[in-house]
Symmetry: C2
Subunit: 320 residues, 2 copies
């Protein structure tokens, strides 16, 4: 088996250039430079086999997604991706894993101008931890920025990852090719960084979070940090097409879309009178955005379906 240094050279070198990277891979630390008035946004996330993805998931998708979940956190602050480190534990260092893994990883990294500046590989059960670094300007999008009267908006569509998990565990019967398509679509999500960066540049935009725990759970974090309440309109949630085609009961569809985790879409709030500007931005970036509720001063989260209050039917997703 090749040594650690050979592996790094073979699969992970040559992607560490960027104007802010003073020193990339090859010393004890990497060095990053910031310009005046910039802050560094830092996030880290882990994907473990059997917990965050099924055994034998396509390594290409794992490479892509392990970076995406981190860039999604940068997007939620309106930060511009700059660099990342990779800690990869795997039972055996094979070409059949590392080649597609690196392909998926660098497809996204190169597209977003995000340089691999360091990391480590070691033997162990398959586990991928990435820490990602973004440049953040003075006014970041924060969870604490929502104000009563703001509209609540979400990018893309919801529930696809929860649907894939149902199918993966056999709770929803689908054929092999459909399962494979659900896997691909739910793991190869679009990156919202460029859109979020422009959103951040709008002077009245101050609040966002990415949807990793389900929209109800993540909206809850915004409410707690902003000390406000919200009305969330379940019937307005942008459900993934596959929810409509594969799930008959409306109740189940809503549960998956509202409480299912790992959509990695952007949830943000804006003063309602600025909606037109935002819709222009969405068109420009070809990012679908849906208004799904309103921030209130009531201190509670109320879920509505076709104008009627409903009770939550499931708890937000947690990793423990």
């Amino acid at each position: 088996m090749p040594g650690e240094f050979d592996l790094i050279r073979k699969y992970f070198s040559g992607h560490d250039g960027s104007s802010r990277v003073e020193l990339g891979i090859g010393d004890d630390c990497a060095l990053l430079k910031l310009r005046r008035d910039e802050s560094l946004a830092i996030t880290t996330d882990t994907l473990n086999e059997g917990i965050h993805f099924f055994k034998d998931t396509d390594p290409y998708l794992l490479g892509y997604r392990s970076l995406l979940v981190n860039l999604s956190d940068l997007a939620a602050m309106g930060a511009d991706p700059m660099a990342f480190t990779l800690s990869l534990s795997l039972p055996e260092a094979t070409d059949s894993f590392l080649k597609p893994f690196a392909k998926g990883l660098f497809e996204l990294a190169d597209e977003e101008g995000c340089a691999l500046i360091g990391g480590n590989t070691s033997k162990g059960p398959l586990s991928i931890t990435i820490s990602a670094y973004g440049v953040s300007c003075a006014d970041t999008l924060r969870r604490s920025g929502a104000k009563s009267g703001d509209g609540i908006y979400v990018t893309g569509s919801l529930g696809l990852c929860a649907l894939y998990v149902e199918a993966g565990y056999g709770r929803l019967k689908v054929d092999k090719s459909l399962l494979s398509s659900l896997c691909y679509k739910s793991m190869h999500q679009p990156c919202r960084c460029a859109f979020a960066k422009e959103l951040c540049d709008l002077e009245y935009s101050r609040c966002a979070i990415d949807i990793s725990d389900g929209i109800v759970g993540d909206l809850g974090h915004i409410l707690e940090c902003s000390n406000v309440g919200a009305d969330l309109w379940l019937d307005k949630l942008p459900l993934a097409d596959e929810l409509h085609s594969l799930i008959k009961e409306e109740q189940k569809r809503l549960e998956l879309a509202a409480f299912g985790g790992c959509d990695y879409e952007l949830l943000f709030t804006l003063p309602s009178e600025t909606e037109d500007d935002v819709m222009d931005l969405c068109e420009e970036h070809d990012v679908p955005v849906t208004k799904v509720g309103i921030i209130t001063s009531s201190q509670e989260l109320r879920l509505f379906n076709h104008g009627k209050i409903v009770r939550p039917a499931a708890k937000p997703f947690e990793h423990f």
Copy 2:
């Protein structure tokens, strides 16, 4: 079992304050500020159960060491520890693990002024990944900074971790209490950051690495990056006391000290005429430093024992 957010609050909150931390735990990303002319030094390292430590190792020692191995990389650049993120995978979130783990972690973090600014916990085989951030001034200690004629110096003593691994695998017979003492001493190493920072401030000091792969392997990295050779004097290596008391054969003692990994001491080079200044620094910081060789222009690494060239008897440690 408590949820992820409860765990974070219970064991890992309240250690995220520092003048350069603009935003700590609680949003999608943390935010760090740098002053003008500062760079950010970044490193990341993983400890996996059964690979980097034995099953049932005291969680207190794991907490301490998982940060130490990262701070050791910051030291090797002469960077001042500022902050870190923690990704913790564990089979079950128990008080009996998390309480001592957090104690060991924050003992070192607080001592070094290193704030915990983010991270994640998830279910999985025990695995700890930390990314650490340090402030680096214009002239960092780099692997590429060694020059022919420089003396080669090492802090502390060598071989204790390799000895503990021998004992842990039963290749060296020791009683339970001695095994426990070897475990503690080899995992609870001193942090060399403060010393390295002062070393970095000496204007003629430009080259260091930390010893994680064994002094022969790590010196090899310096030689490769600096495009020089070296004579390493094995008989001058500062062997840990326990090597003398527990290993009878000189050959075996030298192998453990020269090729054993994970000592996390600092290896650095300096123009020989500046030795007095460095020795003053060592005394001031109460850090033992030993001269163990000399950089040459020969492009090869020669190992000497009592003046005679010897051949390497083992290969440098690698994680794969």
